[in-house]
């Protein structure tokens, strides 16, 4: 087991090097002069240019610049934002809980409903239940979620007034953030109606963000269940006279879970990409919206830092999923 983890850890290094080269190269690949890009100043005097060149370390050899970039990045220093001069790392971790909160809610919806519908479809194979569930799943899988979000706003926020249109909290309610997770903070604040407000703000964005992972998980669960239900040990369990629900829930489901867990892990990237769109539509103050705003404001240091941090997050999550995978599936450890 330890060897597996070490082997898997060794694979992280080349990926990190690639990620860091890409985010390092980003500012240098932009059209125009990197000094002008970094300083945000246009057509500066030659003396000022020289000075800035030195400040940003651009007068040193490229590999030295890269190494110092990585060195600083590893110590959590990703420079300051061009628009508001705040440190990038600090901004990122300030906004990160909002994205995590939204993603976790979406993921819980996606896993619970996805596994449920997938099992239902497999159990009722080739009936109308199967066809309706899988048809709906394919529609969800094909959904342009930015449009889906707008539709939900038209119907449930603007039309029926069931949920708010945007943001994380009612403007009338104010309290100091402690954890950054609105659900927890609102409870800690003890203010009346704060928790309800946090929940009602979460509903629509979570549904939108959950849509594609939910569809993928439902389809994957169905096919994994169908495969497992054909195995010998399931037939043995049936032959022993166990009830159908016991066979499905205990014997088949546990083995069908293995490919489903992998699928869930693979959805993390999808989730973060979806967060970019979902947060933009619902003005959700997370890292997705921050990245879009930074690109819009030409805040290139923020884009560079955000890119690196998001890739590292995806990398770490994939690592954890792979290790978990080995824990639940002993076959992979031997390999």
């Amino acid at each position: 087991m330890l060897r597996f983890i070490l082997n898997r850890l060794a694979l992280v290094i080349p990926t990190f090097v690639g990620i860091s080269i890409l985010s390092f190269g980003f500012i240098r690949l932009l059209p125009g002069d990197p000094v002008e890009v970094l300083a945000g100043e246009r057509s500066m005097a030659p003396a000022r240019r020289e000075q800035l060149l030195h400040v940003f370390g651009l007068d040193r050899p490229i590999w030295e610049q890269y190494l110092s970039y990585v060195w600083r990045a590893l110590h959590g220093d990703l420079g300051v934002s061009l628009t508001n001069q705040h440190p990038i790392t600090q901004q990122f971790f300030q906004l990160f809980p909002a994205t995590v909160e939204l993603s976790l809610c979406a993921m819980i919806i996606a896993i619970v409903l996805g596994v449920l519908f997938g099992m239902l479809a497999a159990a009722k194979r080739d009936t109308w239940v199967d066809q309706v569930t899988m048809g709906t799943a394919l529609v969800g899988y094909s959904m342009p979620i930015f449009w889906w979000g707008l539709l939900l706003i038209i119907v449930f926020a603007a039309g029926l007034h069931w949920f708010p249109v945007q943001g994380r909290m009612d403007l009338a309610i104010f309290f100091k953030p402690i954890t950054g997770f609105m659900l927890i903070d609102s409870l800690l604040s003890g203010q009346k109606g704060a928790f309800q407000s946090a929940v009602s703000h979460l509903v629509l964005p979570s549904i939108v963000l959950a849509t594609i992972p939910l569809a993928v998980i439902a389809r994957q669960t169905r096919s994994a269940m169908l495969e497992v239900l054909g195995e010998d040990y399931v037939r043995t369990a049936r032959a022993k006279g166990l009830t159908e629900s016991r066979v499905t829930a205990l014997h088949a489901f546990r083995n069908a879970l293995i490919p489903v867990v992998t699928t869930i892990g693979l959805q993390v990237g999808t989730l973060l990409a979806g967060a970019v769109l979902t947060e933009t539509i619902f003005s959700w103050p997370g890292i997705g919206k921050w990245m879009i705003d930074s690109i819009g404001h030409r805040d290139y240091t923020a884009v560079q830092g955000g890119l690196l941090l998001i890739a590292v997050v995806v990398m770490v999550v994939n690592l954890i999923v792979d290790v978990l995978y080995a824990v639940i599936n002993p076959r992979i450890r031997v390999h």
Binding site: T15, S223, G269, M291, L307, I310
Partner: protein
């Protein structure tokens, strides 16, 4: 549509026509795939004959009919069946012309990412060693980023626009093809027919392209279909975020972005372009499911 003679053919002969017949037999058994195919063919026809079908020029602004409602709503006229947008342009005509962009985006992106991915995958899988390591690590890095985010950043480097958006999406989608091809090549290379081709004196390029590649097409075709719908979705998302096709291009995602502020006054400017994206992507995904079942029943979703 089903030709009975080709359906019976596989039992008697084993030529190319017979294989095609067998494929069609499996494919046409899937009702969803057939519906998808019909919708897709219709979309292609609409895109091809857009100037003939569209009632108006997509860029013409009818200043007296700003945000006119569609015909089924109160105040709608038959002159603008799906209503007009905030500049008084006919929605139906813009949607019809929009099909050209989406289908073209899908086609170009899939062709470029397929070609480059297959070549890289062939090289990595055939030569192995350091070449393989370098190529596949680069692919890993591309896959480490959420696809839309990487595409966004690439567009920020290249500058917003439809062509740059297509390049960015092609780069993002390409690792899937490289991985699939590499795995297939590694599985096929030790087989006897490849060894005998090499003994007969065939060079590496001939072996890669003419001997091995035709035998790993099935998963690539399925992946290409999935990428086709992905490309359309991502291009629409980029357009929606203002980084893809630029106004006044009647690209569906860009139309949505332009219409966002009128979402409450004129819901049709938002609902219709999105519905077009959904129907197109759904049709292609239905075809993809059918292809997967027909080409290789064992192939899992990647």
């Amino acid at each position: 549509m089903a030709d009975t003679s080709t359906e019976i053919a596989p039992i008697v002969s084993t030529g190319r026509a017979a294989r095609l017949g067998e494929f069609w037999m499996y494919f046409s058994r899937n009702r969803g795939a057939l519906i998808g195919l019909v919708v897709f063919v219709l979309l292609v026809l609409i895109a091809l004959f857009a100037p003939v079908i569209a009632p108006h020029n997509p860029d013409d602004q009818f200043r007296d009919f700003l945000l006119a409602p569609p015909v089924w709503q109160q105040g709608g006229t038959w002159q603008f069946i799906f209503g007009t947008d905030n500049l008084g342009r006919d929605m139906l005509s813009r949607l019809i012309f929009g099909s050209r962009f989406s289908l073209l985006i899908g086609l170009i992106v899939v062709t470029t990412s397929l070609a480059s991915g297959v070549i890289l995958g062939l090289i990595a899988g055939y030569f192995r060693g350091i070449v393989d390591v370098v190529i596949m690590r680069i692919m890993d890095v591309i896959l480490a980023f959420p696809s839309l985010l990487l595409a966004l950043v690439l567009v920020a480097i290249l500058g917003p626009g439809l062509v740059n958006a297509m390049i960015a999406i092609a780069i993002v989608l390409q690792p899937h093809f490289a991985r699939l091809t590499r795995a297939a090549v590694m599985a096929e290379k030790p087989r006897e027919y490849v060894v005998s081709a090499r003994l007969a004196g065939a060079g590496p390029i001939r072996i890669m392209l003419l001997t091995i590649l035709p035998n790993c097409l099935a998963p690539l075709i399925v992946q290409a279909t999935l990428s086709f719908s992905n490309a359309i979705l991502e291009a629409a998302a980029l357009g929606f975020l203002g980084m893809g096709a630029q106004p006044p291009t009647p690209e569906w995602g860009t139309m949505l972005a332009e219409a966002r502020q009128f979402i409450l006054r004129a819901p049709w400017v938002v609902t219709l372009p999105g519905l077009c994206i959904l129907v197109t992507v759904l049709a292609i995904n239905l075809i993809g499911d059918g292809l997967r079942d027909a080409l290789d029943p064992k192939l899992k979703r990647s």
